[in-house]
Subunit: 235 residues, 2 copies
């Protein structure tokens, strides 16, 4: 069987399981809105950058996010979803996240691109183990981009060396980013039943039990602490 006919068969399967199809569409849609708003905000935060090298690094990150948005939107269209309808339920949540975590300077913007995006992408990677291979592949593809991570880590470490007082402020900022991300994630989980059912399971599909969800949260927390440690910051 060719890969294309396999894909068509899978898309047919999705059509036969409306609850699962709704969950996949929600997953791709929340990711798409996340990538798009990240693109808009990172490009806007580039205005805060003190050097053109910084602007180039932030712009590079932003354009990658935009490319991911297009890939997700195209897949939604393939699945027969109208992007305008599919994305709308997540618009306000993501806007609220960005409004509540508007960086006041360049370092906060960098931290947000690295730490805020990091925990979000880790979360979607975790979810990807509950979906079909084709969806998983796309989710992992759009979550796999740390091309500028080394740059961000170096810039923040250097800023802390230059002015050690910065560390305390950025550590607090990191906690605020995670807190806001979690509170928006809870809001999405509460509002989107199909999406929560992806993780906790549905009638015909086994999901994660409480112990597995606990381990997932532990992994997310661990990765976050590792990222903060890379920056020389307390989590």
């Amino acid at each position: 069987m060719t890969s294309e006919s396999k894909n068509q068969e899978f898309d047919q399967e999705l059509a036969n399981d409306p609850e699962y199809r709704a969950a996949v569409i929600d997953l791709l849609a929340v990711l798409a809105v996340g990538e798009l708003t990240a693109f808009e905000r990172m490009a806007a935060d580039s205005v805060l950058a003190p050097t053109y090298a910084d602007k180039a690094a932030m712009g590079e990150l932003a354009t990658i996010e935009f490319k991911h948005f297009i890939a997700l939107r195209n897949r939604l269209i393939e699945l027969g979803a109208d992007p305008e309808v599919a994305l709308e339920p997540f618009r306000q949540t993501l806007e609220d996240f960005h409004t509540k975590t508007k960086p006041t300077d360049w370092l906060e913007g960098l931290m947000k691109a690295f730490v805020g995006d990091g925990i979000g992408l880790d979360f979607y990677r975790e979810i990807s183990s509950y979906v079909d291979p084709r969806t998983r592949e796309l989710v992992l593809e759009v979550c796999d981009d740390l091309s500028q991570a080394a740059y961000v880590v170096d810039r923040i470490r250097l800023a802390i060396v230059e002015d050690p007082k910065v560390a305390g402020r950025l550590a607090l900022w990191g906690r605020r980013l995670v807190g806001e991300a979690l509170s928006q994630a809870q809001r999405v989980a509460a509002e989107r039943d199909a999406l929560s059912a992806l993780i906790i399971g549905g009638i015909d599909r086994p999901g994660a039990d409480l112990a597995e969800i606990g381990r997932m949260l532990a992994r997310l927390t661990e990765s976050h602490s590792r990222r903060m440690a890379d920056l020389g910051l307390a989590a």
Copy 2:
């Protein structure tokens, strides 16, 4: 002679004519800052877009501008210029342009991307006839992108059909965009002797006479009027 060794020879020629080299660096730098700030502002203006299709179109434009910025920056580095130093003289001018032409709604943002960028790119295309072939090629390359023009034209025409009062406001906005662009261009010309000398000529290089400059301005005005007419607006 290979194309690469020709290029090296040309770069050597540039090194031997410091005044011309300064002019080329200024030209590439002002274009680079223009592309970068356009990227930052378009991505920020994407927040104003009413639909995801609009955001996708604006984001596409923005990422193309960023790609051009990188190409120009890379060429500056090849020429031995430090981008931080080369771009700095144009930062304030471009920021002032954007501050003075901040769109208050989505239609104004679209117009700015089409009409404001349009007159800027026409101007650089005109200048490209006064520079060496290699520089000309790069300038024309970064000025040649109207991938979303049809989309912008359709969106604005549709908005005018839906609410004819919009036309008067947008016509005024178009005039303001051009006025601000001209006033910033005059400021650059007054401050950057090498760049102005590109057009009006130097000791060893013939430039444009007054009649030719007049014809150039006529061509710019004509193209602008044509763009406005495409939108169904009076210039």
